[in-house]
């Protein structure tokens, strides 16, 4: 996948992050993503992301599961191998409902997990770029995608004026790429620890 250049600004507070997101968008920059330590309510809305269609996918997987269960089991018990079980009719719908329910849940759950992994481009062994390790701890990290004409110095100054406490320019590869972390590219760098 193509390598892209990003300007990364780190924020320490949601209250600073929200106005910054709005201003960055208003200035016409394209926000690649904002990485937060926890789910921030309303951030997707502020970033202008469209509503996810994961639940629609889940619904489709679910009814696929229901139909699979119903068609398979009704074929088995009425056509392929009819059995007399306790004198019940061959088409014993109430007895099949638990199985139909289970398969609905199974298909919906597994399907949604796989779809989610695909949308986030995650899989075992896939290498992802970390814009800032502290995004998993206490820092709100905004990555802005650069174009050929983006002036990174101006953009960094703009972010700083909007409350970013740490800035950097990073080149990262997007999408699927298998591999493992190189030794020199440890995400948690052994920085000098200053005793508090």
């Amino acid at each position: 996948m193509a390598k892209k250049k990003f300007v990364v600004g780190c924020f320490e507070d949601e209250a600073v992050l929200f106005p910054a997101v709005k201003k960055v968008r208003a200035a016409g920059y394209k926000i690649h993503d904002v990485y937060t330590p926890f789910a921030v309510h309303g951030l997707d809305h502020a970033m202008g992301l469209r509503e996810t269609s994961l639940h629609t996918a889940g619904f489709i997987y679910g009814i696929t599961g229901t139909t699979t269960a119903l068609s398979t089991i009704s074929w088995i018990f009425t056509k392929d191998w009819p059995l007399n079980i306790g004198g019940k009719p061959h088409f014993a719908l109430p007895a099949w409902i638990p199985i139909m329910f289970e398969l609905t849940v199974l298909f919906a759950a597994v399907g949604m997990v796989l779809t989610f992994c695909y949308l986030c481009q995650l899989a075992p062994g896939v290498k992802k770029h970390h814009f800032h390790a502290r995004a998993t701890d206490d820092l709100f990290v905004m990555a802005i995608e650069c174009t050929d004409t983006t002036n990174t110095d101006d953009l960094q100054a703009f972010l700083q004026s909007n409350g970013a406490i740490e800035l950097s320019v990073q080149v990262a590869e997007e999408g699927w790429w298998f591999g493992r972390y190189d030794n020199e590219d440890v995400p948690f760098q052994n920085k000098e620890i200053v005793a508090a």
Partner: protein, 409 residues
């Protein structure tokens, strides 16, 4: 909060409508009493008292479910319900009123010795029946009267205590300590209510009031089934009142976000109701033991077939399909429509639970049922609107109110 309307005023139109409904109901009640209640025919009598029974029990349980909603959200340290909590509170003020009606009807059935409704009242039949003899410790008039009195009395008392405590939230802002004490007291009172609720609605009361109409038959699912029915109807009733108040320009702090959560409750508990419905049905269908299938025989294969499947369509398929989407739960019109549909569906459910056992040969649904329904709806509108007007609509000093204002789904 200068621009926020804290005081609900009952519109004249609403009062007229509720009184008109009550009038229609009273006409139906009196006509029914004359033509059926005091009729020499046992079937007519049974139909009349059965109709009164399922209507009063249904509305008492539905209004009590509003207090249950306050209880569980308090125990869960919920904040989102605070901006509209006066609505369930107002609905729960109906528990003593409808409770008294239920009590009167049930006492008439017991002391009037209506053994066509409660077969176990017939002492001679019980003495010759080994199954009923075994149940005599539970199914006897003394226990019935004591337990019914305790149930309705304590529902009313515990609910009143919670409402009383929450009048504090209308006063001056609380300090941190006062707030913590207030929340703690709320938790204790909600817990007391819930324990009693579990012992009654969660187990004994539906067995005693409704399941004992078929004294030979039993189902351990029955109480949970009744509870699910009443809770989903209770949520629908809360939704209707919230939407009505929003329409009239009240409850400014309640938004689509709150409506979404109420809609989720309606959706989830419709599915929960179906789960219990199915758990009860499938085991009996599968085992196919005559003393168990007797309950479903005339419901699934007899005259109640239509109502039985209508019940499933209204209470399961419609909520499942219509309320599934996020946008549906955030749509005031759609949620209001679904709330009316669910309330009607569970009223029909209670109808077939009680009348399906009392009148096995004929479906009696007719003018009497809808007349009595109109009486109860009229009473509900009249008293709930008065209760809403008697207090500020928003508990302005409640420690969790801010959580409700910034609530987002």
């Amino acid at each position: 909060m200068a621009s926020i309307k804290m005081q609900f005023e009952v519109p004249a139109k609403m009062k007229t409508w509720s009184l008109a409904l009550i009038a229609v109901g009273l006409v139906a009640l009196v006509t029914g009493l004359v033509t059926k209640g005091f009729s020499a025919d046992e079937h007519e009598q049974t139909q009349f008292w059965g109709t009164l029974m399922y209507n009063s029990i249904f509305w008492t349980l539905v209004c009590n479910a509003a207090m249950f909603f306050i209880g569980v959200t308090t125990m869960a340290m919920g904040g989102f319900q605070q901006s509209f909590r006066r609505v369930p509170e107002a609905i729960s003020t109906m528990v003593p009123i409808f409770g008294a009606i239920t009590f009167a009807v049930l006492m008439y059935v017991i002391f009037g010795h209506k053994h066509h409704i409660y077969h176990w009242l017939d002492t001679e039949a019980v003495a010759n029946d080994p199954i009923l003899k075994g149940k005599v410790g539970f199914l006897n008039p003394v226990f019935f009267v004591i337990w019914t009195t305790l149930t309705i009395g304590l529902w009313s008392l515990f609910g009143w205590r919670i409402r009383k405590l929450n009048e504090q939230a209308d006063g001056e802002p609380m300090t941190a300590e006062e707030g913590a004490t207030f929340i703690y007291k709320n938790t204790v009172r909600a817990a007391t209510f819930l324990v009693w609720f579990g012992l009654t609605v969660g187990s004994t009361i539906p067995w005693l009031w409704m399941m004992s109409i078929d004294p030979h038959w039993y189902s351990t699912m029955y109480s949970w089934y009744t509870f699910a029915s009443s809770f989903v109807s209770g949520m629908s009733l809360i939704a209707l009142w919230v939407i009505y108040l929003k329409n009239k320009g009240y409850l400014e702090l309640t938004t689509q976000e709150h409506l979404h959560d109420i809609g989720k409750f309606m959706f989830a508990f419709s599915v929960f109701w179906t789960y219990l419905w199915f758990s009860q049905y499938m085991l009996i269908w599968y085992a196919n033991i005559p003393e168990e299938t007797v309950y479903f025989k005339h419901r699934v294969q007899g005259p109640y077939k239509g109502i039985f499947f209508l019940n499933l369509i209204i209470n399961f398929l419609c909520p499942l399909i219509i309320l599934m989407k996020r946008s549906a739960k955030r749509n005031y019109t759609l949620v209001a429509f679904m709330a009316v549909l669910i309330l009607f569906g569970h009223w029909i459910d209670f109808y077939q639970m009680v009348m399906g056992s009392l009148s096995k040969e004929h479906v009696t649904l007719g003018w009497l049922d809808f007349g009595i329904l109109s009486l109860f709806v009229g009473l509900m509108i009249f008293f709930v609107s008065r209760a809403l007007a008697s207090k500020p609509l928003i508990p302005k000093s409640h420690p969790f109110l801010k959580e409700s204002i910034i609530h987002q789904v």
